[in-house]
């Protein structure tokens, strides 16, 4: 090899030790996790159920799937799930606005921002199912408890993303407006709000996507939505019903995802 090239190569930082330590730690972690999880394969029963689920997916209960008249069919249940997720997102995004301002270090002092951040981490770690149980004490079982749970659990992520938006505000615009002699109201109305509005909306739509997915599991504790019928159907081995619920769910979530992606693209590009 050329001498100059060889010299240059030697100058590169030697990361072998660093990389091999990481590799050793990773391997140790993998072995450790293998020990904890008792790997079980399919047994006779498992294969039987797997085939049952698949046959349920391909021969869904059509009457149940297209039952538009009563609230008990798949469309009615999906509609309820959509409503829970929607209201939860609306409430959550409104609650997140003051919290996100309290969380951004460029607006409030550092200690305040830090304490708010800790509170939000605290809120975020409690699993949504626990909140569901708490709210059921307040409202009794039903979709209302689901709405309250969704509002509380969405605050964490929404406010974190709002903070990013607030921190990345273009201050040049504000300076320009100050130098033009604008009042504070004008600065907020024409300098800050237009910047925040579309980004906030985009975050909220993104969260709606996620809430729709989460709303399906709240049924587990009796907080409304399509989760409860799904689990009942599974526990009683009515696979064709399970199939129709799953098909409805997948179609709905895919449709909402495509729609929200289009919407967010338009919001970002103006």
């Amino acid at each position: 090899m050329n001498k100059a090239v060889a010299q240059q190569l030697e100058k590169a930082p030697n990361r072998k030790v660093y990389l091999s330590t990481i590799a050793i730690i990773l391997t140790a972690l993998i072995i450790w996790s293998f020990m904890g999880v008792n790997i079980t394969g399919f047994d006779q029963r498992g294969t039987q159920i797997a085939t049952n689920i698949f046959s349920g997916l391909f021969s869904p209960d059509l009457e149940f799937l297209f039952d538009f008249t009563s609230g008990g069919g798949v469309p009615g249940l999906l509609f309820e799930t959509i409503a829970i997720a929607f209201l939860g997102t609306v409430f959550g995004s409104f609650l997140a606005i003051p919290i996100s301002f309290l969380m951004s270090p460029s607006i409030v002092s550092r200690p305040v921002a830090f304490v708010t951040r800790l509170v939000v981490i605290f809120i975020r770690t409690i699993p949504s199912l626990v909140y569901g149980l708490m709210f059921i004490r307040v409202t009794g079982p039903g979709p209302y408890a689901g709405v309250l749970t969704m509002s509380l659990t969405s605050i964490g992520m929404i406010s974190r993303l709002y903070v990013d938006v607030i921190e990345n505000l273009d201050r040049g615009v504000l300076e320009a407006m100050t130098s033009m002699g604008c009042t504070t109201y004008q600065k907020v109305r024409y300098g800050i709000l237009p910047q925040l509005f579309s980004s906030f909306l985009s975050v909220t739509i993104y969260r709606y996507d996620m809430n729709l997915r989460d709303a399906t599991i709240l049924g587990l504790v009796g907080a409304g939505g399509i989760g409860a019928p799904l689990i009942f159907a599974m526990r009683s081995y009515r696979w064709s019903e399970v199939g129709s619920i799953l098909i409805g769910l997948v179609v709905l979530i895919l449709a909402v995802e495509i729609f929200s992606n289009k919407l967010r693209e338009r919001l970002v590009n103006g």
Binding site: S33, E80, A83, T125, P127, R137, L220, M234, V250, L254
Partner: protein, 275 residues
């Protein structure tokens, strides 16, 4: 300016500039959006039976469980570690396996690597459908197939991680600058070699950071999987909640919070280093 139906109804404002040129400003769409949002809110309000006065009269009930959790039952701490490690092991194994299998899936879905529209479309659709299934539901299905226990949880986390990383990675790979790849090829490297030296360095940091992020989220997910019998700390949570032993629930949540916080910090540190 392209005129849409909305512009025909609400005429855009026209300004005449000093040089005689005319510019049009579209009428704001905010009222229409606001109206739609308001309408959907009212409908949802009716459907879900939201009643704010109930929040005022019975809101204190929400605090009841929270106050019962304090002070946490510290004697219960020793019972938490076992299931907690189960949870961590479940999410670790599921995340690693999912992240590894996501590589071939992402490659098969990227139209610039595998030039076969049918194959790309099939794998993209597969990943999307997998992603729509909520983790708890796939865990429930897995408990039916694999029996109760940590295996079901691992499978559920594995499936979610596969779909999540797979999607993010094929989006990234499709946006990679193929110029470097072509340059390597024209210098006489084989396709595999060109891939190794042109695309891997570009994609690797994102892949690692996305995987770490997925692992972070999975720990939180794994904590509730026990609810459907898929092992881990959720099992404990479910049991204690069922017995209304709230001080112990508080202890479980406290430890969970600490562990999640520590793991998040570690993974955040490495993700910062990667970017």
């Amino acid at each position: 300016m392209r005129e849409t139906v909305y512009d025909k109804i609400f005429k855009p404002k026209t300004y005449t500039l000093s040089n005689g040129k005319e510019v049009k400003q579209r009428a704001s769409r905010a009222p229409l959006i606001l109206l739609i949002v308001l309408f959907v809110t009212v409908v949802s309000w009716e459907v879900t039976g939201v009643d704010l006065s109930m929040l005022r009269t019975r809101g204190h009930q929400f605090i009841v469980i929270l106050t019962d959790m304090f002070p946490p039952n510290f004697n219960f701490m020793n019972n938490v570690w076992g299931p907690l490690f189960d949870t961590i092991q479940m999410s670790l194994l599921g995340s690693i396996a999912g992240a590894l299998l996501a590589i071939p899936f992402a490659l098969l879905s990227s139209s610039n690597i595998i030039r076969n529209r049918l194959l790309n479309g099939f794998f993209k659709l597969f990943l999307s459908i997998l992603r729509t299934l909520p983790t708890l539901i796939s865990a429930l299905i897995a408990t039916f197939i694999f029996g109760l226990g940590t295996m079901a949880g691992t499978v559920a986390i594995f499936l979610f991680t596969l779909s999540y990383i797979g999607k993010l990675m094929y989006e990234h790979i499709e946006n990679v600058d193929m110029g470097a790849f072509e340059a390597h090829e024209s210098m006489g490297l084989s396709k595999v070699e060109a891939f190794r030296y042109a695309i891997v360095p570009d994609v690797l940091p994102t892949y690692l950071s996305v995987s770490l992020y997925a692992f972070e989220g999975n720990i939180r997910f794994a904590a509730i999987l026990g609810y459907v019998g898929a092992g881990g700390v959720g099992l404990l949570l479910d049991e204690r909640l069922g017995w209304r032993d709230y001080p112990s629930v508080g202890m479980v949540l406290l430890i969970l919070m600490l562990v999640v916080f520590v793991i998040e910090r570690i993974s955040e540190y490495f993700r910062m280093k990667l970017t």
